[in-house]
């Protein structure tokens, strides 16, 4: 035996056996002899204690509140690349719209819990829209279709596949058409699948239809420049921007990309430079809210206005020479109507003096002639350098002409169509009612819909096939020149679903083998090899190339782009334009958050306040205050709009800043069949679409409006005060909630904001923060009020959906909100947006009034909320001057729509690092403390000093304009430390001396005068 270092005796040293035996017993002999319960005959002290402790243990365990938490099964084999408690991230692509933005999906223990933009992606650079953020809810929607359905009955894929292939064969034999009704196709592989399908079934024909699209812009581009692919715009290089009814920051084109580039031109904090945004529009859009100069312009006047500008600016000089017949045509447009309009004079001067550095943009919903005029004006002003042809929009499969779809309906009615396959499209909801698509469907023997939720079209289908969501699918996308995006599944299909491309592929390749998810992946790899790999010829072998591409989520490559050459054909088109007139003009735009209605069953999006009106769970008819007065209509009154013999009753919303006699409705609402969340929410303006439209289908001239009986309740998150109510007018300025200045003012004195500031002092000693101290800065110059931060926060922090009635009562739960204030007049309002969240005050007024210490301060300056300790007195909320605390008035997961979101599936969406709050508990923004803690523990694990660099809150990570900066103010190198000391930094309600840790950077309006008018 080994010699020991310490020994008690020689026996011990030599390792005597006796001694070892003795030492084996912990206690000396005799001490523990009695302690064998069986041996004890009577109730000894030890037996009593033993029995008593057993009794107590049984009693204690029997009385604990054991709740059945369901079956918990541990991994018995550790999956590869998975560390429990550690998130994995995968790059993918979004299929929510035709932009196919790059995604970075966060998964925990194999389940996706958060979606953000892929930071490497060349187009969107780490940002995605609100719909993309919330799309994770679609994966866990309890009403998702879970299995194939044949005529309302559950079925299985084998039967579906064989029956449908029979019908397809039959249609082919009978020489009847097979109509593939697809959305806009941006996937080269999907296009190949369709080609394969057409080869197998020669009578197949593809129809590509998207309700809100860019086809007017695309066609105008084609007419003007002869190429298919219209360019993106280099907003960051524009000094002057004119947008005609265009919502490029709100929901047109790739608005996430636009917002990022636009905000680069608004970087006053670092560069001192600002672009100037002119917006001429009839409604009030997100872009309109950002305008430095906003011109109310009814849709009927927009063409004349634009041509007037062309005329005026052409005379001041032009890059191109126009033919004389066109010059004389131009003379008809003299801007006489705007003779006395100061803004128009400034606009003309600005455009004239900024030739080559300005850009004109028109809204997607406007007719082609406007886009032609815009192209012409940009050409005259030599602005073509701002076209970004490197990343042009690719027109992979042109959208079908409306005539084609009309013909399809006729063919269907005539019985010439054997099979209709809806590839995740909803024509019953989207197509103009006079196409009579519902009747046409009845004449088709086999109607197939592939969709992940039920829909108006699905209800009329013989076969309803469940589609996998974007988190369960493979895909490739070629939406922009030079960028090939890849999509990979991050979770196996939760239900018995398949992706639409795989279904079509199987129908064209036969059903002899077992269905394999990997088949379509291999198919994509083939596409990638043929179309990309072979083209760019990289050094690596294809396998390595493919895996690298999957890892990155996209492949970027160089493509040759021809320089666009102006084509005078556009001028001919412009001379043919007839200007329509009418009393009232109705414009229909796409909903900011529901899209074309596709997201109607997503509670987070339904509850997201409208960026302008702050209304949730509804759409409405917006009219200007003057029109409302004329019609004797008020907020929440019902009105009846009629056009072409069709009428719709819906509530009124009086929107400051709209042009008079213009009516505006957002589409995407009024779904009749989509699920519990979205059904019956809002009104459907698509009923007004007609095949006879002689303008843009979304600008209807000559509609009628009259007051209807009844009242309605719109639920909004901000109380609406009439703008001219002197009682409460301009409070945001008087109370220094919003502090703003103008560029001339700022240039004259950088410090103007703090000139006449009172010195505040505290009667107690200030607490010192020596280590890390968190703070946030929000740049109001950049914030567009787009609301992406709100959804991102809700997803990250398990914020529940509360429902329309609760929002009406003022009980919405979102931790961050965008406050919108109007100043100026109701006709010409000036809009200020301000993201408002917990200010994490150093002297937090909420903390000292909580009787149970449930809200308190952390050493690193966070205002913390301890849910377990909270009794729910709500005193903290009362004492919060910013009213950013949110109270669980109900158990909202249980309360909303009969516990719609309380089920095993939807629970999977929860972020495991964030407590799911029970009813009766106060909650609020935590500055994403879970992210801070994760970074801190990583720093500790690495043995580094924790400086707090690189942490991003969910709102910051999501903000497309990068208006939010978060970090450690005690780190003098950090951006936040600099921003907090910036001349434009201020705190809201500074005078209360609560010392918020959020500073706002005052908005500087790029106008000509020093005073804000």
């Amino acid at each position: 035996m080994d010699k020991k270092d310490f020994w008690k005796s020689l026996k011990d040293y030599n390792g005597s056996d006796d001694l070892r035996k003795i030492k084996e017993n912990e206690f000396m002999e005799g001490v523990t002899d009695d302690f064998e319960l069986g041996k004890l005959t009577k109730l000894s002290r030890r037996k009593f204690l033993a029995l008593a402790s057993v009794t107590a243990a049984i009693g204690a365990t029997a009385c604990t509140d054991y709740r059945d938490k369901g079956e918990i099964v541990p991994y018995n084999k550790k999956p590869e690349h998975l560390l429990i408690g550690k998130a994995n991230y995968y790059a993918s692509s979004c299929t929510g719209c035709s932009n196919a933005c790059g995604l970075l999906i966060k998964t925990r223990e194999g389940r996706p819990i958060k979606v953000d933009g892929n930071p490497e992606h060349p187009i969107t650079r780490g940002k995605i829209c609100a719909k993309g953020q919330a799309s994770i809810y679609n994966l866990y929607d309890p009403e998702r279709l879970q299995y194939p359905i044949i005529k309302g009955r559950r079925s299985d894929w084998n039967r579906v596949d064989s029956e449908i292939i029979e019908s397809l064969k039959k249609a082919t034999e009978e020489n009847k058409e097979i109509a593939l009704f697809a959305g806009s196709v941006k996937s080269p592989s999907a296009l190949r699948v369709i080609e394969n399908f057409k080869n197998k079934y020669p009578t197949a024909k593809i129809y590509s239809y998207q309700l809100f699209n860019e086809s007017a812009r695309q066609k105008a581009w084609e007419i003007t420049y002869g190429t298919n692919d219209y360019p993106a715009i280099l907003w960051e290089k524009a000094d002057v921007i004119l947008s005609i009814e265009g919502d490029f920051l709100g929901n047109e084109g790739n608005y996430i990309e636009n917002t990022r580039k636009f905000s680069q031109g608004r970087n006053i904090v670092n560069s001192g430079n600002l672009n100037r945004l002119y917006v001429a529009e009839s409604r009030m859009s997100v872009t309109g809210m950002m305008a430095d100069y906003r011109l109310r312009l009814s849709p009927t006047k927009q063409f004349k206005f634009l041509m007037g500008l062309v005329n005026n600016l052409y005379k001041k000089g032009s890059k191109i020479k126009l033919p004389s017949y066109f010059e004389s045509y131009l003379n008809k447009f003299d801007l006489a109507e705007f003779k006395n309009n100061e803004k128009v004079k400034l606009l003309i001067d600005d455009l004239h003096y900024n030739r080559g550095k300005s850009i004109i943009y028109a809204g997607s919903n406007l007719p082609i002639e406007i886009h032609l005029a815009v192209n012409l004006l940009n050409e005259i002003l030599d602005n073509t350098g701002l076209y970004d042809s490197k990343y042009s929009f690719v027109n992979l499969l042109p959208l079908s002409e409306m005539n084609d779809i009309r013909d399809l309906c006729d063919k269907m009615k005539a019985g010439n169509v054997g099979v209709v396959i809806h590839l995740d499209t909803n024509p019953v909801f989207h197509l103009p009612s006079d196409y009579d698509y519902v009747e046409a469907l009845k004449a088709v023997p086999t109607v197939i819909t592939i969709s992940s939720t039920k829909s108006e079209t699905a209800d009329l289908s013989d076969y309803l096939l469940p589609e996998s969501t974007q988190f369960e699918s493979w895909g490739d996308y070629y939406a922009r020149k030079g960028v090939y995006g890849l999509q990979q599944p991050v979770i196996a299909p939760i239900f018995d679903t398949r992706q639409k491309e795989a279904i079509l592929l199987r129908w064209s390749e036969g059903i002899n083998d077992k269905f394999d998810e990997g088949r379509y992946r291999d198919f994509i790899a083939e596409t990638c090899r043929e179309q990309i790999y072979n083209k760019i010829k990289p050094a690596s072998d294809f396998k390595a190339f493919w895996y690298a591409a999957l890892h990155d989520g996209f492949i970027e490559f160089n493509e040759n782009v021809d320089k666009p050459v102006f084509n005078t054909r556009a001028l001919d088109e412009l001379t043919k334009v007839k200007i329509l007139e009418g009393d009232y003009t109705l414009i229909i735009t796409e909903s900011y958050f529901l899209g074309d209605g596709r997201y109607a069953n997503n509670g987070w999006l339904q509850e997201l306040p409208h960026p302008v009106t702050k209304v949730t769970w509804d759409n409405y008819l917006s009219i200007s205050p003057a029109t409302a007065k004329k019609m004797n209509l008020d907020m929440n009154d019902m009105a009846e709009v009629s056009y072409n013999g069709i009428s719709l009753k819906l509530p009124i919303f009086v929107q400051p800043g709209m042009s008079d006699d213009t009516l505006h409705i957002e589409a995407g609402y009024g779904r009749k069949s989509v699920g519990v969340v979205g059904e019956g929410v809002g009104f459907n303006p698509l009923v007004f679409l007609t095949k006879n439209s002689n303008n843009s289908p979304f600008v209807l001239i000559g509609v009628d409006i009259k007051k209807a009986e009844g009242k309605y309740t719109l639920s909004s998150t901000q109380e609406h005060h009439s703008l001219d109510d002197t009682f409460v007018k301009d409070f945001h300025r008087i109370r220094k909630i919003i502090q703003e200045g103008t560029l001339p003012q700022y240039r004259k004195n950088h410090h103007f904001l703090h000139e006449d500031k009172d010195e505040l002092f505290s009667i107690t000693d200030e607490h010192k923060y020596d280590g890390v101290k968190w703070a946030m800065a929000i740049d109001l110059n950049k914030c567009t009020g787009c609301n992406v931060c709100v959804v991102s926060c809700s997803v990250e922090n398990n914020v529940p959906v509360v429902g329309k009635d609760q929002v009406a009562k003022g009980r919405e739960m979102q931790w961050i909100r965008i406050d919108r204030y109007y100043s100026g007049t109701p006709d010409e309002p000036i809009v200020s947006n301000q993201p408002m969240l917990c200010q994490h005050c150093d002297n937090a007024p909420c903390e000292n009034v909580c009787p149970v210490n449930a809200t308190n301060h952390s050493p690193d300056g966070l205002n913390q909320m301890v849910y377990n300790r909270c009794v729910g007195t709500r005193y903290c909320s009362n004492n919060c001057p910013y009213k950013v605390r949110r109270f669980n008035f109900y158990n909202y997961r249980d309360h909303f729509a009969d516990a719609y979101y309380e089920n095993e599936l939807t629970f999977l969406v929860n972020n495991p690092e964030v407590t799911v709050r029970s009813r009766g508990v106060m909650e609020k923004c935590t500055f994403c403390i879970q992210r801070i803690m994760e970074a801190r523990s990583e720093a500790i694990a690495r043995g580094e000093e924790f400086k707090g660099a690189g942490i991003q809150t969910a709102c910051q990570q999501a903000c497309p304009s990068q208006a939010i900066v978060f970090g450690n103010v005690n780190d003098t190198d950090s951006e936040i430390a600099k921003l907090r000391k910036h001349d434009l930094a201020y705190h809201v309600l500074e005078v209360l001396n609560v010392k918020p840790n959020i500073s706002y950077l005052a908005k500087i309006r790029n106008i000509h005068t020093e005073e804000i008018q």
Binding site: N853, T873, F889
Partner: protein
């Protein structure tokens, strides 16, 4: 008027009743079976109490969401009712303690009843802080008890001060009330022939034998308790007012609140006592004990405190203007002319204008009129709390978070139910305990005290 005799004090008890007749009269409700009217009254209050119970079950089951509360108005009817009922509970101890110390003999006829009302009102009030919390089952967290997490309550929170103030007030009031009852229990013990009653009265009378020594101790204890209770009368509502005054909300953050709240509490408490006593003296034939003179004196106090409250209203406005702080100024303008102007003007007309009628002696002494005025006062005082709580919260600093508060059905059920709870106790009280202090009344009957005149 000319008949008023100024040479000696007018007796507060009219008609020189014999001591025996007082015993009989006051203990009569306890010795007779309840009549039909009592049952009708009880069934009404019990129905209201039923509403209370249903309201609470709904609240506990579903949550505070069943109330009208929201953000920004996170406190609604719950706190309004709490402050209202604590206010009602102020008259009793004021009458029994402060007026006792001030040697106001007229208090004897009404003190017992007023104290009883204090107890019941504070009981009613005490329910509200509990039920208005989001998780009432954790209300124990509000008490500083040792625990292994070493979490202590937050002593800077006025809500915590409330817990201490109200519970202390309740305890002292209850003891004070009970001590006053001891001689009466002994009297009842002597009178009754029912064995069970005798046993109960024996226990509660603590062996009282009317001995001289007992009386000496009793008087001393009563005096000490009166001295002890007096600051509490002032402190409770002062601390309740801190719930508001300590916050930073415009309309709450006001230094005038403590005296203003105390005056308001006495104001409403007296109105409630006056209301109930009008019935009691009629039903039990106590008109000579609770005389019209007593009622008139109460009305004078209502007039005084009402005017103080009116002064406070105007001073709030003045200070808001004088402060030059825009949110503060707006809060008060908004109260008077904003969306809750209706509540504000109900408050002003009930609290400031209505009691001014008591300048007229005729009105002070006319029972139906004074009754109606006192009812108005209580309506007004309820609205005062509503105005303070709701209007200040509904439009605070950021206009973006402003919202109009609408109470829910459950809110009204609980409001009505709280009256049911209170009046059920009052009704049971009238049949269980002497509503007038037998011992004290005997002491102020003409001729009961030694007087040099009669020597």
């Amino acid at each position: 008027m000319s008949s008023v005799e100024y040479t000696h004090e007018v007796s507060v008890i009219e008609g020189r009743p014999t001591l025996r007749s007082l015993d009989d009269l006051i203990s009569k409700p306890l010795e007779t079976r309840p009549d039909k009217k009592f049952y009708i009254a009880l069934s009404i209050t019990l129905s209201m109490l039923g509403l209370f119970v249903i309201g609470l079950i709904v609240t506990f089951y579903y949550g505070i969401g069943t109330w009208g509360n929201q953000i920004p108005v996170a406190w609604g009817f719950g706190i309004v009712n709490f402050v209202f009922w604590v206010g009602i509970g102020h008259a009793g101890t004021l009458i029994s303690a402060i007026l006792f110390l001030l040697r106001q003999k007229w208090r004897t006829g009404i003190a017992r009843f007023a104290e009883g009302m204090t107890i019941f009102a504070v009981m009613t009030a005490g329910i509200f802080p509990l039920i208005h919390t989001g998780r009432p089952w954790l209300a124990g967290y509000l008490f500083p008890y040792p625990n292994q997490h070493s979490i202590w309550v937050n002593f800077t929170s006025p809500l915590l001060w409330d817990v201490f103030a109200v519970s202390t007030y309740f305890t002292v009031s209850l003891i004070f009330w009970y001590v006053g009852l001891i001689p009466d229990f002994a009297t009842l013990r002597e009178k009754t022939s029912n064995k069970i009653k005798k046993l109960v009265y024996s226990i509660f009378s603590l062996g009282w034998r009317f001995s001289n020594r007992h009386w000496q101790h009793y008087e001393m204890v009563y005096l000490i308790l009166a001295g002890f209770a007096t600051p509490l009368v002032l402190s409770v509502h002062t601390i309740v007012s801190f719930d508001f005054a300590v916050s930073i909300l415009p309309g709450w953050h006001t230094t005038i609140f403590p005296p203003y709240f105390v005056a308001g509490a006495v104001f409403s408490g007296f109105a409630m006592v006056q209301n109930v006593l009008i019935f009691v003296r009629k039903i039990f034939n106590y008109e000579h004990i609770i005389t019209i003179d007593t009622l008139e004196r109460m009305n004078k106090i209502i007039l005084l405190t009402g005017s103080m409250v009116g002064y406070a209203y105007s001073m709030e406005f003045f200070i808001a203007w004088y402060s030059g702080v825009q949110p503060e100024q707006f809060t008060f303008i908004n109260r008077a002319f904003g969306p809750y102007a209706w509540a504000y003007w109900i408050m002003v007309s009930c609290n400031v204008l209505a009691p001014q009628l008591f300048w007229f002696k005729k009105i002070r002494r006319t029972i139906p009129v004074m009754f109606v005025i006192a009812v108005f006062v209580n309506i007004g005082m309820w609205f005062e709390r509503f105005v303070i709580v709701v209007t200040s919260l509904s439009r605070d600093y950021l206009p973006s978070s402003w919202q109009y508060f609408t109470p829910s059905l459950v809110d009204f059920m609980i409001l009505i139910g709280s009256f049911g709870f209170f009046f059920t106790w009052i009704l049971l009280f009238t049949k269980a305990l002497p509503v007038v202090s037998i011992a004290e009344v005997k002491a102020v009957v003409d001729g009961s005290q030694p007087s040099h005149k009669e020597h």
